[in-house]
Every structure is written in C-alpha cells, then in structure tokens.
Symmetry: C2
Subunit: 227 residues, 2 copies
DNA sequence: CATCCTCAAACTGTCGACACTCGACAGTCG
DNA sequence: CGACTGTCGAGTGTCGACAGTTTGAGGATG
C-alpha cells in the first residue's frame, strides 16, 4: 500500500492487460472454461469490450504462467493437466520448500516466527468459519512465507508459479479439505521444527505434510479424469 | 511450407514474434544492450522492419524469461542483475539438480548413462578445440540431461529458465573457464556417483561442482559490478 | 457408406494510426 | 534564486482493418 505525502492512496491505474489477465484467471479458476477449450481472441475482446491487442497480451501472460498454451496460427487453449504433470508440480514444490526450510532453519528471527505463528492462527480461524477458497489461500500463504523467509527471491517466484498451477488443478477438483482444522494443525510440526532450528526435522515434517496433500490431490485428480 | 507466386519454396516463415525474441535474446547475450537500458518499441520495430505489435509480444516473452522488465507506461528495460540475485539463481539451480540426481539415481538406465558419458566426451572435445560459448552450452547440456532424466518435466522447465539467466550473467562477465578441460573433468564424479546408484555421493559431487562454479561466477560478477 | 474436394466462415498474425501519458526544459512568479 | 507551471517531443496503450490460414460443413465421387 503506497501513499502520497498527503496520505492519499495512489491511484491504481492498472492497464487493461492486467485487468483482463486477472479476469481470465478468475474465470479459469472458477472452471468457466473447460480444459483444452479454444479461446478466441475476438470473442474475448467482444466480451470484455476491448480490442484484441490487450487480450492477446493477457493471454501471453497466462501462457507464461502455464494456464494457457498457444499453437501457432491456432491461438490459445486452456491448459490441460494430467495427473502426472500435477504430480511433477507437487514434487518440485516439495523440493523447493525443503530447500527453503533448510535455509530458514539457520536464520529464523523472532519476527519471522511470530509471523508464521500468526499465519497458522489465521488458518485455524478460516478453518472454522471461512470458505474453501480462503482456506486454500491461507494455506498457500503459510508456505509462501517459508519461501520468502528463506531469503531466496528467485525461489519465491518459482513457488508462485507452481501455486498458480496447483490452484488451477485444485479448484478443478472441487472441494479439497475434508477436515480443514486438522489440515491447519498439520502445519504445527513444521513450525515446531523451525523453533528448534532443526533442518532435518523440518524436512521430515514437510515431507509428511506435503506428501499427504500430494497423494490426496493427485489421486482425486486422477479419479476426476476417469469419471 | 508456403510458396511464393513464382513457386519457389520459401523458408519456413516462423512467427515474427519468435524470430524477434530470438534475435533480441542473441543481442542481449552478446551484450549489445547495457543492463538497465530502455528498449523503445518503435525503434526496435524499425530495426527489424516490422510493426510494433510483434515486438511488444516478443518483449513480453523475454520479460517472462526474466531478461527484460517492464514498467507501466514506460516500456521495457534490460534486466539488471546484482550479485545477490545471481547467487539466488545458483542456489536454486543446485536445489533442483540435487533433487534431479536423487530421482535419477534410482532409475538410471543404460541408455541414460551412455548419453551422459557421450555428453561428457563432447564436453572434453569442445574443451580442446571449441569456443567459450560452445563450452558453456555443452556444459549446460550435461546438466540439463540430469534434469531431463529425472523424469520431472516441470523441473526441466525451471532449469531452463535459470539457465537463461545464468547465460545472461556469464556472458556479461566475459570469459569464464580458465581451464575448460579441467572443468569438464569435474563432471566425472557426478556421473560416477550415478553409476554406483548413490544419491548421497551424487549430491556431494554436485554440491562441490556447482558450489565452485557459483563461487567463481558470483565473485567475478561482483568484481565486474565494482570496476 | 466412406473418402475426398470445395468453399465459406472464423480466426490469427500483422500493420498503421491515434490518444494519452511521461519526462525534460524553458519560462513565470514569488 | 528557487519553486511552480506550461509546453513539447518521445513513447506506450489501444484500436480497427486487412491478409493469409485453419476449420468444418456440405456436396461430389468412388
């Protein structure tokens, strides 16, 4: 949140490209476009009431995020995931977070610990009275903090990319957590390992935590593909 | 394959966007644009003899690859790296390759081993009578194989992104290897560890190999920034 | 009935044009 | 002399249009 010297919030003059990208992203996450379907630029441009140029650029943006794919002279299509690709995403995510927690264990500050604790509390809160989307977002936010606090910004960027793809798949599945409060609790061992500055315990906790999620999500995704 | 009215087979007309992206990439890697410099769309369009639209899209592509950055209403600028960012890239790369070699150790086939051996031989060849660029490319190719053979395609994609950035920095530095043949040889322990299916030895070999490169490259980069 | 061909509609790739914004510079006022 | 304002050129954001390509339907053909 930036402010001027007078305290006004700066005018957020976002360009059309980002607005369109956000709206497309939202639509994709809501499942309004079936995987593999063709997105016609002209049609989208009409829908948004703009010309094709910004739509094209927004589509390129989403392509770079792995949500769309393009074929020359044929245009953009909604990215299709198969269970193996999703498995790769989780595998890579685990790789990143293990690394992050190993780095973090050696440099955890009181402020970081407080932030993580607070985030865990937020997760428990939305586990009780929040939507499924909120639960997922707060969950992601916790893991993102681990990456941020690791100090490797490049790692955070990749993590964000992977999250986009995971969200995409998860919201295709529909509801994810059967017992959100229990899911929130399974983050406690990770934080506990960090408190004791133990990278090995941290890795182990992560392995378990993400492994369970991976198994569950990929399995559900595989089922959905059949049905 | 398109043909002219005269019936001559014309060169496969690749997308302008990709052609421009490739030429821009090449120019960037050659250091023809100083880091931080502003790239004017209209000027580039004139240089390439095309309109601004494909230039814009190519620039977006390079932005997603981390070689350019854009500011709203101001356009595209050549990405500036600082030594810390480069350090992050190497750190992440090591993280990926460690994971790859761990996966690979459990599934190495004879064909994979042969391919890696062959690549190592190629590296020795260009170490004797190749250019610095060739040496770097064959080196990268070896490491890329490790990622590919790991079986995680998503990991390969991230590796490729990181390589783009590393090339970008390395060719900014200028010459890298003082003794290319020795550098090629330091890949042998990695392959040897794989032959014995030992993930731990593989990680250790990688840690050493990449650690040395990281230290050297980042150090040289830091020096260059001062001088 | 299956296959090939023709053709029109739809769509993408590219272009040139216009409006608006940003930054620099000179001029004005206190 | 310093700060503010008006103006101007450069450059981006967006648009509508055109040309060539892809697609799919429907008819012709074996």
């Amino acid at each position: 949140m930036t402010t001027t010297t007078r305290g006004f919030a700066t005018i957020q003059q976002r360009d059309l490209v980002n607005q369109i990208a956000d709206m497309l992203t939202e639509a994709l996450l809501k499942g309004e476009f079936a995987p593999g379907v063709h997105l016609a630029e002209a049609q989208l441009a009409r829908d948004f009431g703009v010309s094709r140029a910004p739509v094209r650029e927004a589509a390129r943006l989403l392509e770079s995020r792995g949500m769309l794919v393009s074929q020359p002279r044929r245009g953009f299509f909604v990215r299709t995931f198969n269970a193996d690709e999703l498995d790769d995403v989780y595998d890579l995510r685990l790789c990143l977070e293990r690394h992050a927690i190993r780095l973090l264990a050696g440099k955890l500050t009181a402020a970081m610990e407080a932030a993580l604790s607070h985030q865990l509390e937020t997760m428990r809160q939305v586990a009780r009275d929040g939507t499924a989307v909120q639960q997922i977002e707060e969950d992601v936010a916790f893991h993102r903090m681990l990456c941020e606090f690791s100090g490797n910004q490049r790692l955070v960027r990749v993590f964000d990319e992977l999250c986009h793809e995971m969200r995409f798949c998860i919201l295709l599945i529909g509801q994810l957590y059967d017992d959100p409060l229990r899911v929130a609790d399974t983050h406690e061992p990770i934080l506990e390992a960090l408190r004791t500055r133990s990278p090995d315990a941290g890795e182990a906790a992560l392995d378990y935590h993400i492994g369970v999620a991976q198994q569950r999500v990929v399995e559900m995704f595989r089922e959905r593909a059949k049905g």
